[in-house]
């Protein structure tokens, strides 16, 4: 049986002089016991096995009575609202929408987080978002479009899961010392095994292709404690998007985030080392369940210099996000000022201290 060197991957051999296993490529030495244990750990790694259960509840007859469906003529997005609320523009691309009929026969949301932050708070947050941004073009701050902020319920898939993981980390401890002739640097190498489980609840994944996934993730976290069983009455005064990305297509994103969190959580239990890096990771997800819900978001699009700038606010927590344009002239000015200040400081520092 041949072992691989944990340092460089080469085949290690028994060195009779040191009575240890030695790598002929990097000269590292290991005890047989340590190599055997590492080999056992690698062989026992659980392979990823993500299995999810997805919902099947649909609107029952008459349940969606009074709900209107609209279609955007530009991006094809479908939104719905109650019969007392009129939709005229697509909340995603600002193009006109037309009434397409009643809502029926589709998957019904199971939960909804009602809006907690009102439109006035959304407008105030937008104004605040523009403050303290010296590189923001002045004309961009013209707030005449602020009234066009719209409350939209964005469809999301919420994933619950339990993760079982066996993760191997490489860790190092370093120390230095000196004697009369030499400076010494010693590095000790370890394998750290962590096996265990961790559970997740309501990982959200954006179920609308029209809502930018990155923007939706920027608005997090959403607290499911504020959720209620879905009723059409909650939609009154707001728009609601319909999902067009299936739960099956959203699973990969939930998997990716869950796996990353498992690795981070286990990594935090490896303590007392100068450096820790991930070596091998095996995460198995089980009892996966997905539910369909609507999450509240205030949306606004600002068109400037032929480019559309979307802004969004978490309708539950008030968190506001949106990338702003950069005024090239202001950027050049501030770069020059910064450069001048640092140049003068460096010049004076060198004159005084060198």
């Amino acid at each position: 049986m041949q072992y691989e060197c944990p340092n460089c991957g080469g085949k290690v051999q028994f060195d009779s002089a040191s009575q240890q296993m030695k790598c002929p490529y990097c000269d590292s030495e290991f005890s047989v016991e340590a190599l055997r244990e590492r080999d056992e750990i690698l062989s026992a790694q659980a392979q990823d096995d993500m299995n999810w259960e997805t919902p099947e509840t649909t609107w029952e007859q008459g349940e969606a009575a009074g709900m209107h469906a609209y279609v955007c003529q530009s991006c094809g997005g479908q939104i719905m609202t109650d019969q007392t609320t009129a939709a005229t523009k697509c909340p995603y691309c600002d193009s006109p929408v037309i009434l397409s009929g009643q809502v029926s026969g589709e998957l019904k949301p199971q939960y909804i987080i009602p809006f907690r932050v009102d439109k006035e708070a959304a407008k105030a947050a937008l104004r605040k978002h523009f403050e303290g941004k010296p590189l923001l073009p002045k004309v961009f701050k013209d707030t005449h479009y602020i009234e066009e902020i719209r409350g939209v319920y964005v469809p999301v898939w919420l994933f619950d899961a339990e993760a079982d993981a066996c993760i191997l980390f490489k860790a190092e401890k370093r120390r230095t010392w000196s004697d009369a002739q030499f400076h010494y640097k010693e590095t000790k190498y370890f394998n750290c095994v962590r096996t265990g489980s961790i559970a997740f609840a309501h990982i959200p994944v954006d179920g609308s292709s029209k809502m930018d996934d990155t923007m939706m993730e920027s608005l997090e976290p959403f607290s499911f404690d504020g959720a209620a069983g879905f009723q059409t009455a909650y939609l009154s005064g707001y728009l609601a998007d319909k999902y067009d990305v299936s739960a099956e297509d959203s699973i990969a994103r939930a998997d990716q985030r869950a796996k990353q969190s498992v690795e981070l959580a286990f990594r935090e239990t490896v303590q007392g080392y100068d450096s820790v890096t991930l070596d091998v990771s095996g995460v198995k997800l089980k009892n996966g369940k997905a539910v369909y819900a609507l999450y509240p978001v205030w949306l606004l699009n600002i068109r400037w210099n032929d480019q559309l700038y979307p802004f969004a606010m978490n309708g539950q927590t008030g968190k506001f996000v949106g990338n702003l344009p950069v005024d090239k002239g202001a950027a050049a000015k501030w770069s020059f000022i910064g450069m001048a200040i640092f140049t003068v400081l460096a010049f004076v520092f060198q004159l005084i201290f060198m």
Binding site: C192, G196, A201, S218, V321, F342, F347
Partner: protein, 78 residues
Amino acid sequence: MLAMMVLVQTLDWMLVLKSLLVGVIGGAVVLFLMVSKNRSVHAKQEANDYIRKGSLHLRDRRDVYLYRRVEKERREQK
């Protein structure tokens, strides 16, 4: 004019170049920090906000020593 010529001849140009280099780096850092204030949309790589509290259970926790490496460097003799 004479004063300028004297200044050019006596100035330590290496000092000036180093200062300019620091200035360019400093200017770039200032620009980066200011542009980053205009950016607030970032993907979330993890799902830490959705971990059930108290659900982390470790069944096996082993730290196995593998080997050590010692490097040495001769001290400068004064």
